[in-house]
Amino acid sequence: MSSLLVRETHKLLRAQGSLLFVETIPGVKYGEIIEVELPSGEVKLGQVIDASKTMTVIQVFGGVSDVDLKRSKVRFRGETLKIPVSIDVLGRILDGLGRPIDKGPPIIPEEYRDINGEPLNPASRLPPSEFIETGISAIDGLFSIVRGQKLPIFSGSGLPHNRVAAQIVRQARVRGKEEKFAVVFAAIGVPYDDAMFFIDNFRKTGGLEHVVAVINTADAPVIERIATPRVALTIAEHLAWSHDMNVLVVMTDMTFYCEALRELSAAREEVPGRRGYPGYMYTDLATIYERAGKVAGRKGSVTQMPILTMPDDDITHPIPDLTGYITEGQIVFSRTMWLKGIYPPIDPLMSLSRLMKDGIGPGKTREDHHGVFMQLISSYAEGVRLRELSVIVGTESLTPRDRKYLEFADRFEREFINQGEYERRTIEETLDRAWNLLAILPEEELKKVKPEHIKKYHPKYKSLSS
């Protein structure tokens, strides 16, 4: 075959880390995918990250340590990284580049899509407003998720974020609607047993046919980690925009993704930003997180729940910091809560859902939701303040009112936040539970809830009327 059609070169100049420098051949495209063929016949994938007239720089998935410069060759594919997409991926397990690893039949593609996607036109977006009931009181009551939102879990090593995520995936539904839904689960650089935990969980609960798992385990090549969330989102977008499905994308652990990004940036000898992470990490993360959304005139949606572990539980670390600037809130896990035996160990004061206000209230959850939420947070904050104070001055010197607040804060943690791993509470149950706790406090302290809601939902009046 003529060399015009097969675009390949033997002129490999230098290999270093994950970078391969080759002599430029005509028609090299920026961002195109290449194959490196080793003498053994093994083929590795790579991507052009810098192309000039004389030299092309390629980043090789899986590293270049075993590339023999003299006897290997590089073949240019002429296109960017695309994956086959199809509705048949539901129920399947794929590797980090989207290839089946479950020994099932090959997937017949409906089309091929570039894993980088294209930016959603901001003018076409709909502000997300459909409440998703997760059945977890702390989330539904205090930090509600809506369709099209991106709400991450900021966790720490050893905390039960995977179990909580699995519970959300099991239980999440939109009230009063039976619509097509799917879960895309991406494991990024996590240990094999963590990945299997999710798969087993889906299998056990019989939900596997709604799930696509994209798995890049800790032992897979670092560079594939860059592709994994994008592969997952490309699948999610296909299901959402071509098949009208409401897709929840769970990605764990984004910290490993960011570390991979740092490693590659160092290999490219780029100027490092804060703590060695590249200066473009914000933009890079945004190209992942911003793929969540709802679009006017479409039934489908993409909702994201990325999970990340805060190095040293430090929320100002660049990874949670930049994530928090892009996502619409954050659910923060607290080690103190976990040590107290609270599951899920959510810190109510640090957590926030920015899109909550549009998803709750009459017709969506319940009329008293906003007031109850505000009252719970402010009363709990007061309780925590007094708890700190009582450490200094002792409980004896507190007023009876203050002691009520202490009791409230303790019971709020144990009875509202705390919940069984297989326990599902409806939003009504969650709000009623909240009212039972608020009843601990003197009624005149309940300033954030409307008086008519007190009359309607406060246990004192409820028991009178019934």
């Binding site: 990250i49 200066g279 914000y282 959304g293």
Partner: protein, 590 residues
């Protein structure tokens, strides 16, 4: 036009050869897809180009075409109510054409070419005109009269002026000494539009936020920064500025921020009724949306595009507010491009010219006498959000910004956690406009300087006492200090805190601010008097009128001024009466 070839591609930076003759800041079209780019450097026959669209798939050797023009904004009827990307592509139009994903290489004029606008002339044949003179106007929306001005560089005699009627932006509406003028004008975005004279602002830009208007007022044509970590309510604060401020035109630049947030702003601006005009906010707003996942280089351009459109409306004689959310993302875009160019980095990898580039943006603000007849003033106020990593204000973007701006609204994480909104910290925020604006405020209330000073001293003192309170408890303090703490709490909760979602209080007019301040000051003065008369502090804390003071912010801002005055008069009487009763009680007991 020149035609060169691509020599190298590295992300958004492309180097082209055979480009001798091209100049810096010239717009070029890159590759077979003709992506929009801008020359940012020339070396020999090579041009360094930043490309405003994704360069994936571009080949070495593909052509590069020069256009001969610098990156320019299209100015004319059709701006208001539009949503543009960073290089002024009309996003709503793009959606009609290509669906809800933004594809590259799509070209579409910024302003609609087929739409006809109703033009009314203001000059007649034979008139002598110069740059900036009104030729006529178009009623673009019910609230914006869009004046068509003589472009800069054109002057002479009106040989022909179009009669009143409907015209497209490309049809001529006048001929001035042989030159035809259309309603569409172009202006290079990186070049400030000229004005006659810059003046010191002597009026505030009223924002309806008490912590801003009363404590740290912003002059019209001023420049301010709002730094704040994530979750501090930066976007809500910025939206309050754009929604309630007294500007006649608002330009909202969403620069490297969230898409859903932009969607929320767009939808709320369409729904929300402007209390001053009774029309949706959208009828006086222009949006520029370059969200965080859109190409980085266009983010860099979006800020200059926004300010150029702002200057154009300023030149008509309007008070314009430009809000940029967030300048940190803009600076990061600069850092990324700079890194690709392998420039020597400054602090934290930002280019050494970070400070001067920030200044070139903020310096385009001002309260100015503009060119043209009739003589008129216009203003352009700039408020930039800053997103410091880890909420650490010592980082380069915050620090470089602080050297330029004259008002700082520092958002505070702890206030936000306590759900104190707007979470503007009263100890670290400042405004250098206070001196100039004192006169204006004294026309609202002659006692303004004393009231403001009382507030700021009380809050200062509270901060000093805080440490002590934590150790010994408030009840162990001397009664004077306990009063200070009580009044400081009142200032914080009953005055500074404002609910952006409550319609009664989201916007607070200056006279209401002053009356509210008086109520608190009166409470303090009467409390001092009572304490001196021997009234125990606990009695003061039990006064019913405290509850009334807490609720004074809920007096609807739409209440007619006279009626509101009466309501406050009653409140003052109540304060005086309750205290007098206490003092009487003590006296009789003695």
């Amino acid at each position: 036009m020149l035609k060169g070839r691509i020599y190298r591609v590295s992300g958004p930076v492309v180097v082209a050869e055979d480009m001798r003759g091209v100049s810096v800041y010239e717009v070029v079209e890159v590759g077979n897809e003709r992506l929009i780019g801008e020359v940012i450097g020339v070396e020999g026959d090579k041009a360094i180009i930043q490309v405003y669209e994704d360069t994936t798939g571009i080949q070495v050797g593909e052509p590069v075409y020069s256009t001969g023009y610098p990156l320019s904004a299209e100015l004319g009827p059709g701006l208001i109510g539009s949503i543009f990307d960073g290089i002024q592509r009309p996003l709503t139009k793009l959606e009609e054409l290509i669906g809800f994903f933004i594809k590259k290489g799509v070209k579409q004029p910024s302003l609609p070419r087929d739409k006809k606008w109703h033009f009314t002339p203001l000059v007649k044949q034979g008139d002598k005109v110069g740059p900036g003179d009104y030729l006529g106007y178009v009623q673009e929306t019910e609230v914006v009269k869009h004046y068509i001005m003589v472009p800069h560089g054109v002057s002479g005699t009106i040989e022909w002026i179009a009669s009143e009627g409907d015209y497209t932006v490309e049809e001529p509406v006048a001929r001035i000494s042989g030159r035809e003028v259309t309603m569409l004008q172009k202006w290079p975005v990186r070049k400030p539009r000229p004005y006659r004279e810059k003046l010191e602002p002597d009026k505030p830009l009223i924002t309806g936020m008490r912590v801003v208007d009363f404590m740290f007022p912003l002059g019209i044509g001023g420049k301010a920064a709002i730094p704040g970590g994530f979750g501090t309510g930066k976007t809500v604060a910025l939206q309050s500025f754009t929604k309630w401020s007294h500007a006649e035109i608002t330009i909202y630049i969403g620069c490297g921020e969230r898409g859903n947030e932009m969607a929320d702003a767009l939808h709320s601006f369409r729904k929300l009724i402007d209390p001053k005009t009774g029309k949706p906010m959208m009828e006086r707003s222009v949006f520029i949306a370059n969200t965080s996942n859109m190409p980085v280089a266009a983010r860099e351009a979006s800020v200059f595009l926004g300010v150029t459109i702002g200057e154009y409306f300023r030149d008509m004689g309007y008070n314009v507010l430009v809000v940029a959310d967030s300048t940190s993302r803009w600076a990061e875009a600069m850092r990324e491009i700079s890194g690709r160019l392998e420039e020597l980095p400054g602090e934290e990898g930002f280019p050494a010219y970070l400070g001067s580039r920030l200044a070139s943006f903020y310096e385009r603000s001002g309260y100015v006498k503009v060119y043209g007849n009739p003589e008129r003033m216009g203003s352009l106020t700039i408020i930039g959000a800053v997103s410091p990593p880890g909420a650490d204000f010592s980082e380069p973007v915050t620090q470089s910004t602080l050297r330029i701006v004259r008002a700082l609204y520092a958002l505070d994480v702890n206030l936000a956690y306590r759900r104190h909104y707007p979470a503007i910290n009263w100890l670290t925020s400042y405004s250098l406009y206070i001196e100039k604006l004192r006169e204006w405020w004294m026309q609202i209330d002659p006692e303004y300087p004393q009231l403001r000073e009382f507030f700021s001293k009380t809050l200062q003192r509270e901060a000093e006492l805080e440490e002590l309170v934590r150790l010994v408890g408030a009840d162990a303090l001397p009664v004077d200090d306990r009063l200070i703490l009580e009044v400081a709490r009142m200032i914080r909760e009953d005055f500074l805190q404002q609910d952006a979602l409550s319609l009664d209080d989201a916007y607070s007019p200056p006279y209401k601010d002053a009356w509210m301040a008086h109520a608190i000051k009166l409470f303090y003065d009467k409390a001092r008097e009572a304490i001196d008369a021997g009234v125990p502090f606990e009695k003061i804390r039990e006064l019913k009128v405290r509850e009334r003071i807490a609720r004074m912010k809920n007096i609807p801002s739409t209440t007619p001024r006279e009626e509101m005055k009466k309501a406050f008069g009653e409140l003052y009487n109540e304060i005086i009466n309750e205290f007098n009763a206490l003092i009487e009680e003590v006296k009789t007991r003695v």
